[in-house]
């Protein structure tokens, strides 16, 4: 991969053509957008953690080399142009002209190389990508050099990855921080500047418009395109109580509420000054995760029986309720995404209890109680486990549902102990669709035994398919491999996907222009009047 240090004069001329409108449109007089996000911002290093709130903070402050647009295609973002060599081994990228850090210094290829290296230490897709990389080099007009790659289709999807960990670009001095240490310098080159002096965790996080930011000329699309900022200041207010946040929105004390709970949506729908917008078109996907180490789930046939016993509608009805905000989708990769397919799903997720019982008998299930962890404190998860218990019991399982708060579950799921000694058999969670668009990024499909995510599935065939996907560059073949992964999932289930759901954002009607994207972003948003 080559990163020329700066564009030459010719590039400047081209960049002028790219930005015919000159500087970005000024925001109207001192507009402050007050928002309540799904969580308070406590950690501010988007490489150090995968938490979505930190990812969203990252999109405010940092920029990316590539980005995923509304169609799921990878588009250049900080990169002006890029070339792929005929043998598909070398990627040469040229940074856009006019990119500067918040301290006014220019963005350089060295910064980008350091940022990629730090990100790739943490991110699973980055690690996979780097396994194909021989060298990352900085090339400028004086010192051109080449680097070789083993052929892979992962470069652009990884660098344009929409969700955690996103490969955000940071100044070299910041990116040189070891990946195991949190950064303490929050200089980015994104459309907003983080006001560290006004950041009070538990109270508010403040961003102001970065006046020197040069948006792309294209219209914003998903996380790609022109990041034109139309407000002067964005304040993330920390209101932990859902009802209070809704009351604050109704009283116009805040302008935007990222994730109102579904059971309170009717209150918001009644108010003529509030609009509900589903900002993340692909939404989220529920998942039932097996612990493949714990008997009897070490037997794939018994896991298959669960998949046969389940149906998605029962889960979605129990938690979301309103069909406007959920979709039954038997595809492993989210419906509406390029890898959507229903291949191999016949006979699964139809709650065929007779078939499930027969399979259990054939697999020799001995009545071992299944320890099902039930998280009680997150409204979008709380009703899932009781539904799972009910359906499994109808199929002949004995289920020991153990209730706990989410943080206890998070700690317990990391334990490999037997379920009777503090371990577990299964739990339910939810993924943002953007995290599970392909077999490499989807964490639960990783079946690399000890290095896989909690649940630790171990399947050579699955890993072989994931490797094939990482190496392939032809879109049609990529889809075929994704389908093969789905079929393999029905034979060797690592988890069960339980349908898609959507969480609309609530906004005052004087707030418009929300960008539909897998992460909440604040460029493009306008606020008029009060």
């Amino acid at each position: 991969m080559k990163f020329p240090r700066r564009c030459a004069a010719a590039c400047v001329a081209v960049s002028v053509m790219w930005f015919p409108t000159g500087a970005p449109q000024p925001a109207s007089a001192e507009t402050v957008l007050k928002v309540v996000m799904h969580s308070d911002l406590k950690i501010v290093d988007p490489i150090w953690t995968t938490a979505y709130i930190v990812r969203n903070h990252g999109y405010m402050v940092y920029d990316t080399l590539f980005a995923t647009d509304a169609k799921g295609e990878i588009k250049p973002q900080m990169v002006g142009k890029y070339d792929v060599s005929a043998d598909k081994l070398t990627y040469t990228m040229t940074l856009r002209d006019g990119l500067v850090w918040h301290d006014g210094k220019p963005v350089t290829a060295e910064d980008c190389v350091a940022s990629i290296k730090r990100w790739a230490q943490k991110d699973t897709m980055g690690q996979k990508m780097m396994s194909f990389v021989k060298d990352l080099v900085v090339v400028d007009a004086k010192t051109p050099s080449g680097s070789s790659w083993e052929q892979t289709g992962l470069v652009l999807p990884a660098l344009g990855k929409p969700s955690s960990n996103v490969p955000f670009m940071m100044p070299k001095r910041v990116a040189d921080t070891p990946a195991s240490v949190q950064i303490s310098d929050f200089t980015g080159s994104g459309p907003f500047v983080f006001k560290r002096d006004e950041w009070k965790p538990g109270d508010k996080t403040v961003y102001v418009k970065f006046a020197q930011y040069r948006p792309r000329s294209e219209a914003a699309s998903g996380l790609a395109g022109g990041k034109v900022v139309k407000v002067d200041r964005v304040e993330w207010r920390a209101i932990s109580d859902h009802q209070t946040a809704i009351n604050a929105l109704l009283a116009a004390e805040i302008d935007y509420l990222e994730t109102p709970p579904h059971d309170l949506l009717p209150v918001l729908k009644k108010d003529a000054n509030i609009s509900l917008v589903t900002g993340n078109p692909l939404g989220n996907q529920y998942a039932f995760r097996f612990n493949a180490l714990a008997k009897p789930f070490d037997n794939a046939k018994i896991r298959q029986a669960v998949m046969i016993a389940f149906n998605q509608k029962d889960f979605l009805e129990a938690v979301i309720g309103d069909p406007a905000y959920y979709k039954v989708c038997k595809a492993l990769f989210p419906c509406g995404s390029p890898n959507e397919s229903f291949k191999g799903m016949e006979g699964f997720l139809d709650s065929n209890f007779g078939k499930a019982k027969a399979l259990l008998k054939e697999a020799g299930y001995d009545g071992t109680p299944i320890v099902l962890m039930h998280s009680t404190d997150l409204s979008v998860l709380a009703n899932l486990a009781p539904v799972a218990k009910n359906l499994m019991e109808k199929a002949g399982f004995k289920v020991d549902m153990q209730s706990m708060d989410w943080q206890t579950l998070v700690a317990r799921r990391a334990k490999k102990d037997p379920p009777t000694q503090g371990g577990w058999h299964a739990f339910l969670t939810s993924w943002t669709a953007a995290d599970i668009l392909n077999p490499v990024s989807a964490g639960f499909i990783n079946a690399s035994c000890d290095t896989a995510m909690f649940g630790w599935p171990c399947d050579k065939e699955m890993e072989s398919l994931r490797d094939q996907y990482a190496r392939e560059t032809n879109p049609a073949k990529l889809k075929q491999i994704a389908e093969a992964v789905q079929v393999r999932e029905t034979q060797y289930p690592t988890h069960i996907w339980l349908g898609q759901w959507y969480g609309p954002a609530a906004m005052r009607k004087n707030v418009t222009g929300l960008i539909l994207a897998p992460a909440t972003v604040f460029w493009g948003i306008e606020k008029t009047g009060r």
Partner: protein, 313 residues
């Protein structure tokens, strides 16, 4: 007197030590792993393990306790796992909203509850007495958050007189400061008013039946003067006692009230820290609360000497 105060202050040491050991152990016995929370949902087992090492959570509990106590003795509460700030700095930032809320609540509660209790006692058996006692039962029975939501709905949403949530520091303007404290203080004061009014009524009724009150009336003093000069002062000791004991109630109420009204105080900090298993912050805040509780009750004990000259230490 001075010797008593010194003895009482020294007596806080074993109390605080017991609290420290209890909180330290309780947090570690509770399920949950701060490293897993920090790492995020998509983190691998290895990433979580790296963070555990970074936070020193791999060390034996006894060693962790010794390190923590050693630092606390030197006035260092350590660094928050999450906020990456010194815990002392976090507490300092959050102290003003909580102190303001507590003081406003106390003033409001005493200003309302004592007259209510006295009136109820003086008019024993009348509808006023029954109304005050009915309110007291209600105040005890309705959870703080329900009162909070009802007040918000009425005064912030329907009438739009007061803000729904938030806090403004005193330095940024008195009216804004007061405006944002009215609803939280009223919410939190309800249970306190109920408690103090009941005790005041009982205490005043007891004093009303004593000989010196009969003598005062026989002298021809008006009922108001009798109540204020002769009854209330003699009834004050149990009332002050219950105000002191009620600080525990106040601390519990602050946690809920700050969450309902989005006030960035110590109560919210406690909730956030507990949910995130931010051990250094939880330990420090609970220690602070326990010291505050002990000191308030010391102050109450000292107040007795001014209210009742017969009490000597």
């Amino acid at each position: 007197m001075l010797g008593y105060i010194v003895r009482r202050i020294l007596a806080t040491i074993p109390v605080v030590t017991v609290v420290a050991v209890f909180v330290f152990l309780l947090l570690r016995l509770t399920g949950g792993d701060p490293a897993a929370i920090i790492a995020g949902d998509s983190a691998t087992t290895q990433q979580v393990a790296e963070i555990r090492v970074k936070l020193g959570l791999e060390r034996p509990i006894v060693q962790q306790f010794a390190i923590w106590v050693g630092r606390v003795v030197q006035g260092d509460f350590g660094e928050s796992f999450f906020f990456k700030k010194q815990v002392a700095e976090l507490i300092r930032d959050r102290l003003e909203p909580t102190a303001a809320l507590a003081v406003c609540t106390l003033l409001l509660a005493v200003a309302v509850a004592v007259p209510l209790g006295v009136v109820a006692a003086a008019m024993r058996g009348t509808w006023i007495d029954r109304a005050v006692m009915g309110f007291a039962v209600l105040g005890f029975s309705v959870p703080v958050f329900v009162i909070g939501y009802l007040l918000i709905y009425l005064f912030a949403i329907q009438l739009a007189w007061l803000p729904v949530q938030g806090y403004q520091r005193l330095a940024e303007g008195f009216w804004g400061f007061l405006q944002r404290l009215i609803l939280p203080s009223v919410t939190l004061a309800v249970i306190y008013v109920a408690l103090i009014a009941r005790i005041t009524r009982t205490s005043v009724l007891e004093v009303l039946g004593t000989d010196h009150v009969r003598t005062a009336r026989a002298k021809g003093l008006g009922e108001g003067a009798v109540l204020l000069r002769h009854v209330l002062r003699n009834a004050a000791v149990p009332i002050v006692t219950v105000i002191g004991l009620g600080v525990a109630l106040l601390i519990g109420g602050v946690v809920v009230t700050e969450s309902v009204y989005g006030i960035p105080g110590l109560g919210r900090l406690t909730v956030d820290a507990v949910l995130a298993r931010d051990y250094p912050t939880v330990q420090a805040v609970i220690l602070l609360f326990s010291v505050a509780y002990v000191l308030v009750n010391l102050l109450v004990d000292l107040t007795y000497t001014f209210l009742d000259p017969r009490i000597r230490y």
